[in-house]
């Protein structure tokens, strides 16, 4: 159910990016797609009643130098979180580039409306 709603969010973003005529709206659509993918990835790693994947003082056995099994059996998956951290920064970078292209285009054409920005044909 939650996964399906996440995909619904993805489709909303896709709709916005494909159908809207305003450049900023298109960027917003792509941002919504990015949020939904990030949420989806983190949800995949969630464990019901789990703890964050950070070892505290209580979960560490100083004698053996290993973490306790209670932590191992309750921690959520760190891998998707690492992936999402990467994906967030990538999306910030592409947002910056996209917005630069947008405002440079605005300076040239005086509009954000892509139906009026049509020099290239077919």
């Amino acid at each position: 159910m939650l996964y399906a709603m996440c995909f619904f969010l993805f489709v909303i973003g896709l709709y916005c990016a494909l159908v809207k005529k305003n450049m900023v709206k298109i960027v917003i659509g792509i941002m919504i797609m990015e949020y939904s993918v990030n949420l989806f990835l983190v949800m995949l790693g969630y464990r019901a009643g789990g703890v964050a994947p950070i070892v505290g003082k209580d979960e560490f056995d100083a004698v053996s130098g290993m973490v306790k099994s209670s932590f191992v059996n309750s921690s959520v998956d760190p891998l998707p979180q690492a992936l999402v951290l990467t994906a967030i920064v990538i999306s910030l970078g592409s947002l910056a580039l996209m917005i630069s292209i947008c405002i440079r285009t605005y300076e040239k054409y005086g509009t954000f409306d892509i139906t009026q920005i049509r020099r290239l044909k077919g």
């Binding site: 100083a62 130098g65 910056a96 300076e107």
Partner: protein, 157 residues
């Protein structure tokens, strides 16, 4: 571009230091607590952007000019690549080998201390530098561009 009111200015000159410290804390303790180089770098950039929004672009540029930010960006990226390549040189062709931890720290009871994790804190600092500088740069460039295009009457076709 003269900045905002006196209230905003005096509050932000205090908050600026706190934000800066928080960013540094998050970076340095990135391997022990939530956070890390990216979050720290973004927060660091935010403190300068706060300065820019409150006092105007010129004031922020006096503190950290575009040219310096661009150099810092490259230096941070090179530092991170250097951490990777050090493993290559030190650990017999081990690109990204965590050589510091494996040589000196493993089994020394350093777990959960600030100096632990080998190359991880070093990479965090390099990334923080790189991310902070580059994000400050992008906001600065966007505002410089806007100022130019609004004053300089570009012809619109």
């Amino acid at each position: 571009m003269k900045g905002m009111t006196i209230i905003v200015k005096s509050v932000s000159s205090w908050v600026k230091m706190l934000v800066l410290l928080f960013g540094i804390y998050i970076t340095i303790f990135g391997h022990l607590t939530p956070g890390g180089g990216f979050a720290g770098g973004v927060i660091l950039a935010c403190s300068y952007i706060l300065l820019m929004l409150a006092f105007g672009r010129e004031y922020a540029e006096e503190n950290l000019s575009l040219c310096v930010a661009s150099k810092l960006d490259c230096v941070g990226a090179l530092l991170f690549a250097a951490v990777a390549l050090c493993g290559f040189i030190y650990g017999a062709a081990g690109f990204f080998l965590n050589f510091v931890h494996q040589k000196w720290q493993a089994g020394q009871g350093s777990a959960l201390k600030l100096v632990s994790g080998g190359t991880i804190p070093l990479s965090n600092i390099a990334i923080c530098l790189k991310v902070g500088a580059s994000l400050f740069m992008i906001v600065l460039i966007l505002s410089v561009f806007r100022a130019d295009s609004s004053s300089g009457k570009e012809e619109v076709s």
